[in-house]
């Protein structure tokens, strides 16, 4: 090995190490900051009452965020319920059904959707969906409206990753199934989809991550009310929305409580990420099994 190669090698290694170390430091700093700012809340209210409390009246000393936790979960699962069938159907179309030329147009179009800023999704939701949902009853600002907007936002993630997973299935599987006399649909449903399962699940979990973190578009269409939502047509508030709506003028314990909301949100996302990692690992094992 030439000496110059050795130097570039070492330089690259060190650079990567410094980058990695500093990014982890920043992450740790953010977590410490949020936790330090949020912890004083729990001198005024117990962790249990904070998480399971039904009343959020921070200037009145009541700090219960259960309605927001439920709001976040409701919009996330509402969005996934709508986006999963649509997204997988679209991925199948892209990966297996559509002719090459259609795919060449559709795939970039789907990827373009990821780049649209969330405030634009929110605006479209506010102008088009809110009046439409109002026709169903309620005032239009609701979990349903928010789920619909969120569905549009997570669809591109689900479609593009599921499409990749479906296309990664070895060609021999499909050819084998067809050669055995399976119909096209049988091939898709019993061979392609099960083989690509881990990739599809990963796409869903990644979509879920985006859904939980979405803030701006949600504030615009969900109504932000602090009541416990009882139906999909009720307004609600998400955890992210709680922080964004109230941080402007919050001070003292109120401000701490918003940071504490951030702690809960962080825990939420850590749990989701561990699920993603487990699912991805499983996928790798499964792939290894296929090879052996």
């Amino acid at each position: 090995m030439k000496i110059s190669h050795y130097i570039t090698d070492r330089a690259a290694k060190t650079t990567v190490l410094i980058c990695a170390a500093s990014s982890i430091l920043i992450l740790v700093a953010i977590i410490i900051f949020i936790v330090l700012q949020g912890l004083p809340t729990f001198q005024k209210v117990s962790v249990f009452n904070f998480i399971f409390g039904m009343e959020w009246r921070p200037t009145n000393g009541q700090f219960g965020i259960l309605p927001m936790i439920v709001g976040s979960i409701a919009v996330t699962f509402g969005a996934l319920l709508l986006a999963i069938p649509l997204g997988i159907a679209c991925a199948i179309l892209l990966a297996d059904v559509a002719p090459h030329r259609v795919r060449q147009i559709l795939r970039p179009a789907v990827e373009l959707l990821v780049g649209i800023p969330s405030v634009v999704y929110g605006l479209v939701g506010l102008v088009l969906l809110v009046p439409a949902v109002r026709q169903l009853g309620g005032n239009g600002f609701s979990i349903l409206t928010a789920s619909l907007v969120l569905m549009a936002m997570v669809l591109p993630t689900i479609i593009s990753i599921s499409d990749d997973a479906l296309r990664a299935v070895p060609r021999a599987y499909k050819e084998g199934a067809l050669a055995l006399g399976a119909t096209r649909w049988q091939t898709i449903s019993r061979v392609l989809l099960p083989s690509a399962r881990s990739g599809i699940v990963a796409s869903i979990v990644l979509g879920m991550g985006r859904a939980v973190g979405e803030t701006m578009a949600m504030i615009m269409v969900i109504g932000n009310s602090i009541a416990f939502p009882k139906s999909p047509l009720d307004p609600a508030r998400t955890l992210t929305g709680n922080i964004a709506v109230e941080i402007n003028y919050a001070s003292g314990t109120h401000e701490n409580a918003l940071f504490a909301t951030g702690i809960i949100l962080l825990l939420f996302i850590i749990i989701l990420n561990s699920i993603t990692i487990t699912v991805l690992k499983k996928g790798i094992h499964k792939y290894a099994e296929h090879l052996s």
Binding site: C19, I26, L27, R57, T59, N139, S225, N248, Y249
Partner: protein, 275 residues
Amino acid sequence: MAPGKIIRRLTMVVCLAATIISPVILSGCTRGSASVIIAGSTSVQPFAEVLAEQYMILNPGITIDVQGGGSAAGIMAAQSGTADIGMSSRALNADEAKLWYVEIAKDGLAVIIHPDNPITNLTLEQVRDIYSGQTTNWESVGGKKAGIHVFTREDGSGTRAAFESLVMAKTEIMARAMVQDSNGAVRQLVADDSNAIGFISLGLVDKTVKAVELNGVIASREHVLDGSYKLTRPFLFLAAKEPTGLVKEFIDFTLSAAGKKILDTEGLVTTGITP
């Protein structure tokens, strides 16, 4: 996970963290040596900021630092001297009235509805019942048969605090009310929904919404000034003792015709020349 993926992910985290942290660092740097510190009510804050901005243009080299914190914090800061000027958006109680203070303007709160809504007048009790959730249909207050869509401001907002103390008395704004985080957003959503009701600063009422009469009194600058319109609150500047020097000069500027004109254009009601 492939190493490439790890690096990609780490780079993403670095970028994200940098975006989050850099404004914090930058804003920390801009806090130089301030000559006058103003702190208190978040309702008065935006107006004080405009005044400070204009004053700093007219008097280069002087820094006026405006901070929030709420009326209570403003009164305390003036008392203790941590701020040169405290801001309050409520009248002082007997104890606090020992401080030196001056009313820089009055702020009116307008209860707004959609222009197509046939209602023109509501009593204070009717507004309270709508916001507490006792009244849920426009029919019960003389309107058409339709559910009332109630919009309010977020907890911690000065406008909400004023509405609560002037209208709600001891009752609470119902949890089902929809929350928006600015006067502008409330106005926009009320303008978009024929069954909506909201409240905003009087100065921000425009043609897209209708301000209701309260107990038969039209919400107008004149009625705020003569005291017949009930939803008003004073905006106060206060200090530990009679101000001198730079602080006095800034307060004089606020109370001058130029200062009043700024406050009037920003939507407040002063005794100055009507715009």
